[in-house]
Amino acid sequence: MIRFDNVSKTYPKQNRPALSDVSLEIEKGEFVFLVGSSGSGKSTFLRLCLREERPSTGAVHVLGKDLGKLSNWKVPHMRRQLGTVFQDFRLLPNKTVAQNVAFALEVIGKPKSAINKVVPEVLDLVGLGGKEDRMPGELSGGEQQRVAIARAFVNRPMLLIADEPTGNLDPQNSVGIMKLLDRINRTGTTVLMATHDQAIVDQMRKRVIELDKGLLVRDQARGVYGYQH
């Protein structure tokens, strides 16, 4: 699903690489936590997976494609096959919940009839049935993140990438979001989640990848957030 072969990434005008010589593989159907302090290279890792950046050296394969060799005009098509969720939700404040999800389908040219069918389905799935016509501003943070997850999942992607999805949520809402992501994972979708949330990582007991100063320092099958020092 995701394969990094000796990937390094150095941004222009920076001496230290943001990611240095990282090699790993994430299989189909896995649930993987990406942990590490700020500046450890987590964001760069995710940006490389989304082909927002290209590696300086090495090769990044996502969904069977070598992203370094993928031409620009093919990138949108590749992104349709994965879903993304962010800490700040990234919803459109002037559109309703249903319109926010529908927007993602409209802009990739899906016909109206298909949109009208799948949007209520996915909103039910994330537990927002009945809130289709609410505005994002009227919802709690947890509910807003559910809208974002619904939008990411509406195309039934093979891979869901989440960048600190619980970063803005209280523990109770965070648990709800994690249950939802776990359920999505059980449908066969690979989930890659960057997080700072120790409690969640420790509780879920999934594979943990830890980055530190751009280096891969730990890759543990049923890991916890960090070693006790």
């Binding site: 005009w73 949108p76 992104r79 096959q81 990234r90 802009v107 990739i108 040219g109």
Partner: protein
């Protein structure tokens, strides 16, 4: 591509950015109106050239008695009949060049001058013999004036060879100058319009960065992300082109109903010329705006 979705996006974009849109529309309108005006002036000059050059003649003037003192060419006094006939004989031999030639005697010249200047105070003082006799030569190709000039200037009895085109050329020079001025102003206005379009698209892209960010995230194609902005710029340019067309039509009706009544010696170009220029302006305006928007977006909306 769903038309309704794109149209609503364009509407939102233009409304959100209303003042800039107005600036773009007006500057595009002015630059296109000037572009159209400069094209029309060119048409007008060409049509006038065609019309007048058919009528112009080269005049070969002969010396009169009074020229003997004032012109070195005529020191021998008035031209003799023989000299006039010699010139005629030579003209008749230039069949390639000369279409026809007619003789104007001093009396005829005097009469014509009297008819065109009935109030001139010199009229009483000047007699028919002060007016030169001349050959009025019509050329097959009015551009070949030089040949006639060099063949006859300096011949005995010939005072001067004059091309009526010279007189017209002043007028055409003026019109060409106007055309160049319109063109220069058009280029400047076009430049201003382009800068405005680039800036408008930038502001528009910035104010909708949330939308475009999400579009890129969910895998909307570049075309889908950029289309609303390009269509927005092209639509503003279309409004500008419509305004420019209105200005040109207004100018046309002013010329038809006002100038044409007063300046009857000029044949003005018709509505059809204006109507052929208008689609050109629409294409030019929309194409230019679309391309400017596209180039701007390449920089501001990366994949």
């Amino acid at each position: 591509m769903r038309a309704q979705f794109v149209l609503s996006e364009i509407g939102v974009g233009l409304r959100r950015n209303l003042t800039m849109t107005i600036a773009v529309v007006v500057s595009v309108a002015l630059s296109l109106a000037l572009a159209g005006a400069s094209l029309l002036v060119r048409d007008q000059v060409n049509s006038m050239k065609g019309y007048w050059y058919d009528k112009v003649e080269v005049s070969i003037y002969f010396c009169t008695k009074s020229d003997a003192k004032t012109s070195a060419q005529c020191s021998a006094g008035a031209a003799t009949d023989q000299q006039v006939q010699d010139v005629k004989a030579q003209l008749d031999k230039m069949t390639q060049l000369v279409q026809s030639s007619t003789f104007e005697s001093s009396a005829e010249a005097y009469k014509r001058w009297k008819d065109t200047n009935p109030d001139n105070p010199l009229l009483a003082a000047v007699g028919a013999d002060a007016m030169p006799q001349s050959w009025r030569v019509k050329l097959n190709d009015p551009e070949k004036y030089d040949v006639v000039q060099s063949a006859f200037a300096g011949k005995p009895g010939v005072k001067s060879v004059e091309d009526q085109r010279k007189i017209l050329e002043n007028l055409f020079g003026l019109l060409n100058g106007l055309q160049t001025a319109a063109f220069v102003i058009m280029v400047l206005m076009l430049f201003v319009a382009l800068l405005l379009i680039v800036n408008t698209v930038r502001v528009s892209a910035f104010s909708r960065r949330r939308e475009t960010g999400i579009m890129r995230l969910v895998g909307a194609s570049n075309f889908y992300v950029q289309m609303p902005f390009i269509a927005e710029a092209a639509f503003a340019a279309l409004l500008g082109a419509v305004m420019a067309s209105g200005l040109l039509l207004a100018g046309h009706f002013f010329v038809q109903n006002f100038l044409a009544q007063r300046v009857q010696f000029i044949h003005f170009i018709g509505l059809s010329s204006v109507l052929t220029v208008i689609p050109l302006l629409v294409v030019l305006g929309m194409g230019m705006a679309g391309i400017a928007a596209f180039i701007t977006l390449r920089k501001y909306l990366k994949v």
